[in-house]
């Protein structure tokens, strides 16, 4: 028996009260938030790559729920369609054909790519616009488009190459973990649509327990290195994968083995650098004022003027 319900109850049709909101923020880009009065239970989406059949129902559901459309694509020689995330397509199935050197089996590794909802979000760290990126205590990292200025710093901050800047509205877009659905007790649209329950949603604890069962099952069937992808380099994620080859996440279209916020981003955005910059500028301003008071002004005298006049008149003669 499952530890949680695969099928969540239908959404309420009246008296809709959001289960979380502004008061549950734990991080807010380029600004601070008061300590929230309560701590929500952490949620997570678990993507069991071993159960994925590559049907792309999750992509269709994502477009449908978020009211996005993508143009009819072109075949670029792989099953990935569209070939990459776009400002409208927040999730893409990435297909990898891999010959397992041990078994000589051709394995079809299909990873549903999208925002990982990091506990330590690089996008939020890099964002200069107050409130454009927020993190709720349930783990959801969300973009607030009304505050986004379209600078693209989140793209540089993200260790997973997820945010995309729209050339239409010049805002950053990514998966919201269906924060609007979660707020009324629903799971993400992709999880709802997944026909094999490869995508499931629940509390992070439930998802870890479910993953443990799945990993046990995979190991019993010969996948000795099966495991959970919940990378500690970003303090864990709220979208996790069950991988049959958890020791080689790179196999799955370059899923990073040990993702973390780039040191360049950390230094760029460090408080130490901000304070050092301000201190250096203040020191130079103070030094200039001090110099002015102590040594200035360095005025030319009547004698200088007289000497200049003599020089000039010497020429005129």
């Amino acid at each position: 028996m499952a530890l949680f319900e695969f099928e969540l109850p239908p959404p309420p049709t009246k008296d809709l009260k959001p289960l979380f909101g502004e008061q549950d923020l734990v991080r807010r880009s380029a600004s601070s938030v008061p300590e929230p009065a309560r701590k929500l239970t952490e949620v997570a989406k678990l993507i069991d790559v071993s159960k994925c059949i590559g049907c792309k129902a999750c992509q269709a559901a994502c477009l449908e729920w978020n009211d996005e459309r993508i143009p009819v694509g072109e075949n670029v020689g792989v099953y990935d369609n569209p070939p990459d995330l776009t400002p409208s397509m927040f999730t893409v199935m990435r297909f990898t054909e891999w010959v397992n050197p041990q078994t000589q089996d051709l394995e079809w590794l299909i990873r549903k790519d999208g925002c990982m909802h990091c506990a330590d979000p690089g996008c939020l760290k890099a964002c200069p616009a107050p409130g454009a990126i927020v993190q709720y205590s349930n783990g959801i990292v969300d973009f607030n488009h009304e505050n986004c200025i379209g600078c693209g710093y989140c793209v540089d901050g993200c260790p997973f190459n997820i945010p995309r800047i729209s050339q239409v509205d010049h805002k950053a877009h990514k998966c919201t973990l269906c924060s609007d659905r979660v707020a009324v007790g629903q799971g993400p649209a992709c999880a709802k649509a997944c026909p094999t329950h490869a995508i499931v949603f629940g509390t992070k604890e439930e998802m870890k327990q479910h993953a443990a069962e799945r990993i046990k099952d995979l190991k019993s069937r010969g996948f000795a290195t099966a495991g959970l992808y919940d990378p500690p380099g970003v303090k864990g994620t709220h979208v996790m994968y069950v991988l049959h080859h958890a020791d080689q996440p790179e196999l799955y279209s370059g899923l990073p083995k040990d993702p973390s916020i780039s040191p360049f981003v950390s230094i760029w955005k460090s408080a130490a650098k901000r304070y050092a910059s301000l201190a250096a500028m203040a020191a130079v301003v103070f030094a200039m004022v001090f110099h002015q008071v102590a040594a200035g002004p360095n005025r030319s005298s009547d004698e200088d003027e007289e000497n200049a006049r003599k020089l000039i008149e010497g020429r005129d003669k």
Binding site: A30, G150, G152, M288, A295
Partner: protein, 213 residues
């Protein structure tokens, strides 16, 4: 007219194109500083209101950067000949106490620009070159997809550090105007007094008088 109240001599220092380029550079630098500070220091984000909001500030900042680079290019072409390092410049570097206390009688005669101005000229040229390249790399709207994210991270860090260095140079540059009265008019009317030129740039004054400059 009384004998001691005679008209002060006037020397032409900067032609009109140099003055226009200088003020385009100065104004764009200040606007770049304000918008850049707003995007760099969360506490200064409110300054984006001066530009009509965060999005406009983000949009304008790189174009202002181009205005700065282009105007500085004019200044570079017009000044580079006067900014080559001379022997007296090394002496200037070696005697900071005479320089800082304004005892120019202890220093050699200087040409159109003193060593500090030359350092500022070359320093800003270097900083602006780095800021231009790193800025283009992080200009998301046009170049976001042309460079790797790894490179953009380095460019963003470099851009923020070099911008602060440019501000430090700018503060010193502005201070020198207040410290040496009579300097500002060189960039407004384009002229200086003979006395000012005699005191601060005597070698240049001699060249001007001799008709060489």
């Amino acid at each position: 007219m009384s004998a001691e109240r005679h008209a002060v001599s006037t020397i032409k220092r900067h032609p009109l194109d140099v003055r226009i380029a200088h003020w385009v550079a100065a104004i764009s630098f200040i606007l770049l500083g304000l918008s850049g500070f707003a995007l760099f220091f969360p506490g200064f984000f409110f300054m984006t209101a001066l530009f009509g909001g965060g999005e406009t500030a983000r949009f304008l900042h790189p174009w202002l950067g181009l205005a700065l680079v282009l105007s500085y290019l004019v200044l570079f072409v017009r000044f580079v000949g006067s900014c080559l390092w001379k022997r007296e410049d090394t002496i200037w570097i070696l005697r900071p106490s005479d320089v800082l206390s304004g005892r120019e009688e202890n220093l050699p005669e200087f040409g159109k620009f003193i060593a500090g101005q030359k350092l500022y000229f070359w320093g800003m040229a270097l900083l602006f070159a780095v800021l231009l390249v790193s800025g283009v790399i992080i200009w998301q709207a046009y170049f976001g997809s042309l460079t790797s994210i790894a490179l953009q991270r380095i460019a963003a860090l470099t851009h923020s550090i070099f911008a602060v260095l440019a501000v430090l140079g700018f503060v010193i540059h502005v201070h020198m105007v207040t410290w040496e009265p009579g300097t500002l008019r060189a960039m407004i009317s384009g002229t200086v007094t003979g006395g000012w030129a005699w005191k601060h740039h005597r070698k240049w004054l001699r060249e001007v008088v001799a008709g060489k400059n």
